[in-house]
């Protein structure tokens, strides 16, 4: 069953199909939050919030639209809500050391120094640049899908991706 077909079932009140949707997408949503915030525990809380919102907002989903884009838009909005309700957390973000959790994936392909270098570079670039890199490079959203998530045109996404790669490269070599 496709995501849209699963959501159609959920909309009809067959909530058990939410389990499949969660299993398919929770790691992606968690990684979006983890890379945006650097905080594993907060990322798990926000991931839970997103899937609770999917259930509450099930009737707002239009089966004709891309589910992944709708889901990531919900994630983006949840993160913004979090920042607005706890501005201090956003301000102190850079002061928080990268937390190495016991459940970090063993398959990490980078050596620890390079990994730290990438994380530091990601921390130093603008929020909007980091977001577009995560959506397009890690989550493999098409420009049209990323445009729906971020709320800008497809051309603007493309321009933002270019600027983000440029600023990431500068941060990477200066970190």
């Amino acid at each position: 069953m496709t995501d849209s077909e699963l959501m159609a079932k959920v909309k009809q009140g067959e909530l058990r199909f939410m389990s499949d949707i969660f299993n398919r997408h929770h790691v992606s949503i968690y990684n979006y939050f983890k890379k945006m915030t650097g905080r594993p525990s907060l990322s798990e809380d926000l991931t839970q919030t997103v899937f609770e919102k999917v259930i509450r907002s099930k009737h707002a989903y239009n089966e004709q639209s891309a589910f992944k884009a709708w889901l990531f838009k919900m994630a983006k909005n949840s993160l913004m809500d979090h920042y607005r309700s706890n501005k201090k957390m956003q301000i102190t973000y850079d002061k928080i050391p990268e937390q190495v959790s016991f459940y970090d994936d063993d398959s990490e392909k980078l050596d620890p120094d390079l990994k730290a270098k990438v994380h530091n570079a990601l921390k130093r670039i603008k929020h909007e640049h980091k977001e577009i890199l995560i959506l397009t490079r890690f989550e493999n959203l098409q420009y049209a899908e990323a445009a729906a998530v971020v709320g800008i045109s497809e051309n603007a996404v493309k321009a933002r991706v270019f600027r983000a790669i440029k600023s990431f490269k500068e941060a990477y070599y200066n970190s």
């Binding site: 909530l15 259930i55 913004m80 970090d104 392909k109």
Partner: protein, 249 residues
């Protein structure tokens, strides 16, 4: 296209065959360009190698527990009905009859030349006298199978106000929620929000109206907050949803 833009376009595979060939020739001829290209390639390659991390198993457990509760909600309410006192059962029976009366009255008043056929007598019978689960199913089925029709709309509205079970009334709100982007449904829900007393129904209506992201809902919520006798849970929900409407999308 500037030099750096061309490098990025090359790395993103956004140049056509001819442009790629031209760029590669230019790199061979210009060591500075090649150096700039390599620095982009290295940084982007490091970024792409950052692997996905796995959340703790606790996240899955927590969501499954939440989902289990959500699935069990209607069942829990049905179970509650079984322990009602005989006196309360009489009240329940009276409510069912009342809901049936409203629906039948409504059907009798409906114009005969409308899309009246969209509601068949069996449906009226089920929604008037069926079990709770049957009434919920009937509400969902009629809105899933039919386009918005004034007759159906009015019938669901009657259920939202008059059914004896809060779960059936919730199902009615949920079904109307599918059409909340239509102004007549939005106004119907705004009116119901002010007339219906049951907090859980009010909360469902508040969440449904918020989905529509409309200023009318926000104005209604703010006006309601001025009332001193508002239920605390409803008040909290209004605050939360006003914030959502202010920040939303």
């Amino acid at each position: 296209m500037e030099r750096e833009e061309k490098i990025i376009a090359y790395l993103l595979n956004e140049l056509n065959t001819e442009e790629r060939a031209d760029f590669e020739s230019a790199m061979h001829a210009d060591p500075e360009l090649k150096q700039a290209f390599l620095s982009y390639q290295t940084s982007l390659s490091s970024l792409d190698k950052l692997a996905a991390e796995t959340p703790s198993i606790e996240l899955k457990r927590k969501f499954e527990s939440f989902l289990k509760n959500e699935i069990a909600k209607p069942q829990a309410h049905q179970n509650n009905l079984r322990i009602l006192s005989p006196l309360k059962w009489m009240g329940v029976a009276a409510s069912i009859l009342l809901a049936g009366f409203f629906l039948n009255q409504f059907i009798q008043d409906a114009p005969t030349n409308s899309d009246f056929n969209t509601i068949n007598p069996e449906w009226i019978q089920t929604v008037s006298t069926g079990k709770t689960s049957e009434r919920i199913q009937a509400i969902h089925e009629i809105t899933d199978k039919n386009d918005l029709d004034p007759t159906i709309l009015k019938a669901i509205e009657e259920v939202m106000y008059n059914d004896q079970s809060s779960n059936v009334r919730l199902a009615a709100v949920e079904s109307l929620g599918q059409y909340v982007h239509q102004s007549e449904v939005q106004l119907m829900l705004i009116e119901a929000l002010q007339k219906i007393e049951t907090p859980i129904i009010k909360i469902e209506i508040i969440n449904t109206l918020t989905q529509n992201k409309d200023d009318k809902a926000k104005d209604t919520f703010e006006a309601m907050l001025a009332k001193n006798d508002l239920n605390d849970a409803v008040r909290n929900e209004l605050h939360t949803n006003i914030r959502k409407l202010e920040n939303i999308y």
